[in-house]
Symmetry: C2
Subunit: 292 residues, 2 copies
């Protein structure tokens, strides 16, 4: 039985946050306090938790932070007006509108309204293009950026590696594939998805397997080449009567049966999850540095 390296996302995230704290102090000493604005429309409980945790992390790192909570009845134009005033606010370097907004909001239009230099989520077309063009002044979406940092921290070589990314979303799958195939990473990258034929066989080729598909424990033992590195981006809530809450979190990977096959693997929770917010802080610092 192989003992895999469990990639500890909490610990790597803590290191990233320490770096951020130090850099925030250095910037503040120069008169630039990094500032993040988080906008929440409506009362979605999960979103409220995320937004609260972002604000708390800002406070811990010495960032300036603004939390704007708007009622679910906020109109598109009112939301755009909030974004525009944040674009103009010199104390704010990063702007994030918590997803998903209420159904009557055109999220695409809201993202486009954010000044791309403050788009720390990396979803603005300007930053999407910079990712494709390998322009380091762009903002990389936080979750794939976090996965890259986990690979790096675990000393995993991407150069020449065969990587399979399951999932083709704009938030994880596509940016992850683009990062891995870039001249900096040099991986051979396959983008697979729910419509792929023989998904297990495709995944079995991978030296590095990234699961970002949102289906609980889809990746089984026979999907994984012995010795592979597995990065599990999924965060799925499944029923579990044995838990007091009646449910538990699980990834896209059947961890129990897969882990012993791997050379390294990220757990859920405690793997990719904690990295997302850490990379958001990194992006906010990058924005503060670039905007000056």
């Amino acid at each position: 039985m192989n003992t895999p390296h469990i990639i500890d996302g909490k610990s790597v995230a803590a290191t990233v946050l320490d770096e951020c704290r130090a850099e925030a102090a250095a910037l503040t000493a120069k008169g630039i306090t990094p500032g993040l604005a988080v906008v929440l429309v409506g009362e979605d409980p999960a979103s409220q938790v995320y937004v609260g945790s972002k604000a708390r992390t800002c406070a811990e790192l010495g960032f300036h932070s603004v939390k704007i909570e708007l009622p679910a009845s906020t109109t598109q134009e009112e939301l755009l007006e909030v974004v525009r005033s944040l674009n103009a606010d010199r104390a704010i370097h990063g702007i994030l509108v918590q997803s998903p907004p209420p159904k009557h909001i055109d999220e695409e239009a809201v993202i486009r309204a954010i000044d791309p230099r403050k788009d720390v989520d990396g979803f603005h077309p300007e930053n999407v293009a910079k990712l494709v063009l390998e322009d380091p002044t762009g903002f990389v979406p936080c979750t794939p950026a976090g996965c890259m940092r986990l690979l790096e921290s675990a000393g995993i070589q991407t150069n020449g590696a065969e990587v399979v990314v399951i999932g083709r979303s704009m938030i994880v799958g596509k940016p992850m594939a683009l990062l891995l195939v870039s001249k900096k990473s040099n991986a051979t990258v396959t983008i697979a998805h729910s419509r792929s034929k023989d998904l297990p066989g495709i995944c079995r080729r991978a030296d590095i397997l990234v699961a970002a598909v949102g289906r609980p424990e889809m990746v089984k033992a026979d999907w994984v080449k012995p010795g592979a590195v597995v990065i599990d981006v999924g965060i799925n809530r499944v029923e579990d009567p044995s838990k007091k809450s009646g449910c538990r979190l699980t990834g896209d990977v059947a961890y129990q049966e897969v882990a012993s096959l791997c050379s390294a693997i990220t757990p859920v929770p405690g793997g990719v999850g904690p990295m997302t917010i850490a990379m958001l802080m990194k992006n906010t610092l990058q924005a503060a540095r670039q905007l000056g």
Copy 2:
């Protein structure tokens, strides 16, 4: 010995051009004559040939066309001023600055200066992002758009197919991979490149192999799975003493040894090559339609 279907790019391009001619006439009847401006800086002979052929095709289709030839000494600011005046010109729907410009020109900045609604090359960040976001109002770069049309015309299914794209350029490899992995095409796509390990083995998995790497006859018989479809994007000039000109054109695929293995293959010349200009005309029509 298998007889492959030779995908006739000249014939498919002629069909595309016929469609363009008909649509140009219909638009012109509505008072909108599609207009393309091609800007050439310097006296590169190959570029002069390309620009001449674009202007000639416009004339044949009933497009309005403007050819702007500037001396190699043109400054960045002078070139940007030309682009700005074309952006403002209501008779012009498509603007193309022939690549490569002289070394003192910042090509990236010139592309950014083009109104993205007139960027018929599809290189502006706005159109790069639209490709990633699968927004059909964007312009798809002409060569990968031409490859997609060749696949379609030959009745080749991409849905669920394993595709390998060799090459990760912004002009062909990356956009081709993004088109193939989109929800419209649903292929499983591997992006391989010069740094990939075991490139022949990776290519041998492909149901559809797209070679866009710019190395003459790199893809040999043992790189190709019997029955595969091969799309050869390479146009390489190699020495050939048996020719009067002393050279001949060849693709990235060793056609002589590969063709008999394939179910379908594009020749060089006469495969992908003629499609590029045809798709440029398609893009110019799309611009004319969208700008009105």
